[in-house]
């Protein structure tokens, strides 16, 4: 199959075939990062702009490294250095950037749909690097890649997603991605952090972490989205850590070869204990490593699509 989409905005709109193509392409790119010379000339002459209206370390660095390993030129713009603070609208910023002929704009924004707005306006490919509580498609793809790498399959797995579900774009994208496969997804968190009608997405809702982790192949931990008001959904961080922090005892209830994931940044001692974060089941750093390969694949597919 061939890639035809101009943009990568949401997992919701991807077919299973498209997801598999990205994962397969990423496998080929993973090897490059293991070389002594970590660079191929594939995207020579392409320009990639990262436009971040929200703070980010991992995602932005990952995109930049991915682009550079493919020999593309990258320019990073963050909200505090952009015209945003001077009152320019997102659309105008986009149009101005486009005048400088970038091939791809990677955008992170606190408001859902912001990347869609750019995608409608601009000819450049737009990659959604997280839009509010909506989606974070590249994170879900790298999570899927990591699951597939560690488990050898995605079908038939039980995945528990635990934490601040209602505010989590990572949860949303992962649910949409996992439901393309034959998986059992359990969402667990305080009732205030589970959006109503959640079951309509084909997932199970569980308020008790001890039940959610039973027989899980994959446990995905989420942090409380303080920037989206997450703290007001619970009485205290302390109580949250007691009720929903992942501890070693929980892992005993899961499958023997369970893997523990976290999209980062982690809040040690809140949603995840040190012993779990650094333990043998943790694949958190593999996720980061795979992020580069997955983003290389996405950049390759978007810039080389049939036009």
């Amino acid at each position: 199959m061939n890639w035809t989409k101009k943009d990568l905005l949401e997992i919701k709109k991807l077919t299973k075939e498209e997801i598999l193509l990205i994962l397969e392409t990423a496998e080929s790119f993973k090897e490059i990062s293991l070389r002594e010379i970590k660079k191929v000339p594939t995207l020579r002459g392409k320009t990639i702009i990262t436009l971040f209206y929200e703070p980010s370390t991992r995602t932005r660095t990952s995109f930049e490294i991915a682009a550079k390993r493919l020999s593309a030129d990258t320019i990073n713009i963050s909200a505090n250095t952009s015209s945003y603070v001077k009152g320019e609208t997102l659309k105008d910023t986009g149009k101005n950037l486009e005048s400088m002929k970038p091939d791809v704009i990677v955008i992170r924004h606190s408001m859902p749909g912001a990347p869609h707005m750019l995608a409608r306006t601009l000819k450049s490919s737009i990659i959604n690097a997280g839009d509010g509580a909506h989606e974070h498609p590249t994170q879900a793809l790298l999570d899927l890649f990591t699951i597939k790498e560690k488990k050898g399959r995605i079908d038939g797995l039980k995945v528990a997603i635990i934490g601040d579900i209602i505010h989590s774009r990572v949860a949303r994208s992962n649910i949409f991605a996992l439901k393309q496969f034959n998986t059992e997804v359990v969402c667990c968190g305080p009732a205030t952090m589970i959006p109503p009608h959640m079951e309509k997405l084909g997932v199970k809702v569980e308020y008790d972490i001890n039940k959610a982790v039973i027989d899980a192949d994959v446990i995905m931990m989420l942090r409380i989205q303080k920037e989206r008001g997450g703290v007001s959904y619970i009485p205290s961080i302390r109580e949250y850590a007691c009720l929903y922090g992942l501890k070693k005892t929980h892992l005993e209830k899961a499958k023997k070869d369970v893997i523990v994931m976290h999209p980062g940044p982690m809040n040690r001692g809140i949603e995840i204990s040190d012993e779990v974060a650094d333990g043998e089941y943790s694949v958190i750093l593999d996720q980061v490593e795979n992020g580069v390969a997955v983003r290389m694949a996405i950049l390759y597919l978007l810039t080389g699509r049939e036009q």
Partner: protein
Amino acid sequence: MKILIKKGRVIDPKNNTDDILDIYINGAVIEKIGKNIKEKGDEDAIINASGHIVAPGFIDIHTHLREPGYEYKETIKTGTLAAAKGGFTSVVCMANTDPVNDNKSVTEFILKKARMEGSCRVFPCGAITKGLKGEELSEIGEMFDAGIVAISDDGKTVKHSGLLRKALEYSKIFNIPVISHCEDTDLSQGFVNEGMASLLSGLDAVPSIAEELIVQRDIMIAEYVKAYIHLTHISTAGSVEIVALTKKRYSNISCDTCPHYFTLTEEATLNFDTNTKVNPPLRSEKDVEVIKEGLKNGTIDIISTDHAPHDLTSKDVEFNLASSGISGLETALGLSLKLVHDGVLSLSELIKKFTVNPARLLKLPYGELGEGKTADLIVFNPDMEWIVDKNLFLSKGKNTPFHGWRLKGKNLLTIVDGRIVYREGTI
């Protein structure tokens, strides 16, 4: 001016008329309605309405004309032009202008402007509270003397129950309705319906109970003080059910909904098109079904447009930041006629919701056709297909989610006070 309208199917629900008739207008008054009225030869215009419907001019109890203060979004001139094109001969304009219509000088300004530049009748709605702040009553009596026909803090709910009670009591002095915008803002700090829309988009959610709680509260207070309450732009199944239940025991209540609430579901918001951002938000399929049912069984008395024109910049931004509202005057008839084409309402029932019922709510001497009555009427074709083109809107607000839609049914001629204020080339 003398106008003869020939061979139209005249539908006037107030007088139970539905027949092929001629209408002769002399000056501002309908002089004669009958079969085969002979031409006198001194007519300024003879309209062949054969194949079309002749109805009383529509009355929109809920528009935003934006003047004074937001003339870049709409003016009384452009808003009433759009109204006339859409088939409306009277519109009620809401008080959320700048300055707010909370005193008689603003009311007088609007009415003066409307007399000078308006293409249709304009009836201002006064603010319930000063500056729409929900803190103290505005000078309702003075505004009433100046010409308001209702009071509303539309765009906001009067949060303080005690103050709403006072407003309802006070409104009884002037026998004008309190029009309530029902939204519990403690529950509704969002942008799309709580349900699939919020679940899939990650946008902050507005649950249906945010509307229903206030619907219930306002009804309880109104009933307690025996005042008239009108609930505007209701959008949820629950609201319809509460109103239906209330109507069984209490008659001083009515409500309206808007074309978008029976045409679109929350699904329309999933592409983050800011033209689908309205307050209250587009609801679920089930809500849409119950709204239609409410229109059919009479629970919902009136269809209003909530015409909310915006400039491009207010809409061409992130969904969260975009202003709420749809520029609705020019698509209301075409969208509402779908109810007739789908068999939800008869033509007469639909016309009633745009004429008799709003006239009764506001005690206006319009909304009917009769000899000696004011000549406010329209000629429309219920089957004519056309494609919505926002660029052809007479309203300054091009914000419509219906751009490019093929609609069936179009207004062709609008007469206000015996003057032709809008006429399509085809008639």
